[in-house]
């Protein structure tokens, strides 16, 4: 069982990197929207796993996408941040439920799942575009990019999520 989930995560990692760099980085909706679907990796990653390993993996995921898209370490920094903040966000969204041994994301309500994903995306995009543009003069540009790209990312993540979700037994 352990090796199974390990294998699943490796496959997910590789597939998400390839899909991100070969498909979604080239979309350019309206000339500037490139949704970042690889955030799903952090959404799907098991909850009860070692946290240090999770943070390391998130960094690795971000940096591999950076290699392909010549974006310095922007993806790494933002993915790292949401990986670190994930427990806090989960506590905010799921509340007491998180304490139960049998807690699973698939057992929570649809609204909670969407809120969790939305918060991940918002934090990620805020860090990403702030670092990318790197000036407060262009604050409006940052907001515009965060909201537009965030909306498309959320939509695509939900679609992907319902396509590839692990079925409830």
């Amino acid at each position: 069982m352990i090796s199974n989930s390990y294998f699943l995560n490796v496959v997910r990692f590789i597939l998400l990197v390839l899909v991100q760099v070969l498909v979604f980085n080239r979309l350019n909706f309206f000339g500037f929207i490139n949704p970042m679907v690889y955030i799903l990796f952090l959404y799907w990653y098991p909850i009860k796993e070692n946290r240090g390993a999770f943070i390391g993996l998130a960094f690795l995921l971000g940096i591999s996408i950076d290699f392909f898209s010549d974006s310095m370490a922007l993806n790494a920094a933002s993915t790292l941040t949401i990986a670190y903040m994930r427990p806090a966000i989960m506590r905010l969204v799921f509340g007491v439920n998180l304490e139960f041994q049998s807690f699973k994301i698939s057992n929570t309500t649809r609204i909670q799942q969407i809120t969790f994903l939305t918060l991940l995306i918002i934090v990620h995009h805020l860090v990403f575009f702030t670092l990318e543009i790197f000036s407060l003069e262009n604050f409006l540009l940052i907001l515009k990019k965060v909201s537009a790209t965030g909306a498309v990312t959320l939509l695509l993540c939900l679609l992907f999520g319902s396509l590839f979700s692990i079925r409830k037994e």
Binding site: G52, I55, I63, F67, F68, A73
Partner: protein
């Protein structure tokens, strides 16, 4: 001592986060003020090969259009050639040659970020080096930034750090070509003095001050122009000839005399000090 160890164990995730964050911030901020990082670029072996494989598949869908483009360019060049009275290339002795041209294919394009880089499928094995100019049949594209054995990255003119010497065609008024990060089909020409007469639609070409591009490579046409805040220079919006979203075949221009020019400039600078 015990307390320090306890502290480290207790906050190990936070410390790991801070450590990795510092690494990524260093790479990011360093390249804000200086060049693209030596290691974090898509010209390395693994990313280059994956991007090339994907590109090999997608190029098939545009072969017709690309052939037509190349035919049109050949036609234009033949027109020029026949009307100059030289129908052969033998006149171009290797000693007279100042620029050598190589061809390449874009395997990764980007135009939606503030700092855009392209990746091409030629590298050091094809004697591509940093700071060579890259153009297409329609106009200027960018400058080679990093190279590996088989690939190279190109700093696009759609890059906030791009700064290329350009001038108004048929005059000697030159300025710098920069990008304000807003539209992928418009770049800005700055530092043209206000006494110059401008009209919307004037052609902008590369200037002779650069040791990278030959003089007179087309850039675009004037879309609109304003005086800048100090009222002494124009800030001109230039609509590019190139469609930056659709670029396949490129030419890499090498100025054979560039080394000599650089050396001379460096020497002058050290003599000054």
């Amino acid at each position: 001592m015990q307390q320090i160890i306890n502290f480290i164990i207790r906050y190990k995730n936070f410390l790991l986060y801070i450590f990795l964050m510092i690494i990524s911030m260093t790479f990011t901020i360093q390249s804000h003020s200086y060049h693209q990082s030596r290691f974090f670029n898509s010209s390395n072996w693994l990313t280059g090969n994956i991007l090339e494989t994907s590109n090999n598949v997608s190029t098939y869908f545009g072969l017709d259009a690309e052939n037509q483009k190349l035919l049109n360019e050949n036609k234009r060049l033949r027109d020029l050639l026949f009307n100059m009275g030289e129908t052969d290339t033998t006149a171009l002795d290797s000693i007279q040659r100042r620029y050598t041209i190589a061809t390449g294919r874009v395997i990764k394009n980007s135009f939606a970020q503030p700092r855009n880089y392209l990746t091409i499928d030629k590298g050091e094995k094809d004697s591509i080096k940093g700071d060579m100019g890259v153009i297409t049949s329609k106009g200027i594209l960018g400058i080679i930034e990093n190279t590996s054995n088989h690939f190279a990255t190109v700093q696009s003119i759609l890059n906030e750090r791009s700064n290329i010497n350009a001038k108004i065609k048929n005059t000697d008024h030159f300025g710098s070509l920069v990008w304000d990060m807003k539209r992928y089909d418009v770049v800005q020409l700055i530092d043209i003095p206000r006494l110059v007469k401008l009209t919307v639609g004037d052609t902008i070409v590369t200037g002779g001050m650069s040791s990278i591009f030959p003089e007179g490579i087309p850039v675009g046409t004037i879309r609109k122009f304003d005086l800048n805040s100090s009222n002494s220079f124009y800030s001109i919006d230039v609509a590019l000839f190139n469609d930056m979203t659709n670029i396949k075949n490129v030419y890499i221009v090498n100025n054979e005399l560039r080394e000599e020019i650089k050396e001379l400039e460096n020497q002058t600078r050290t003599d000054d000090q």
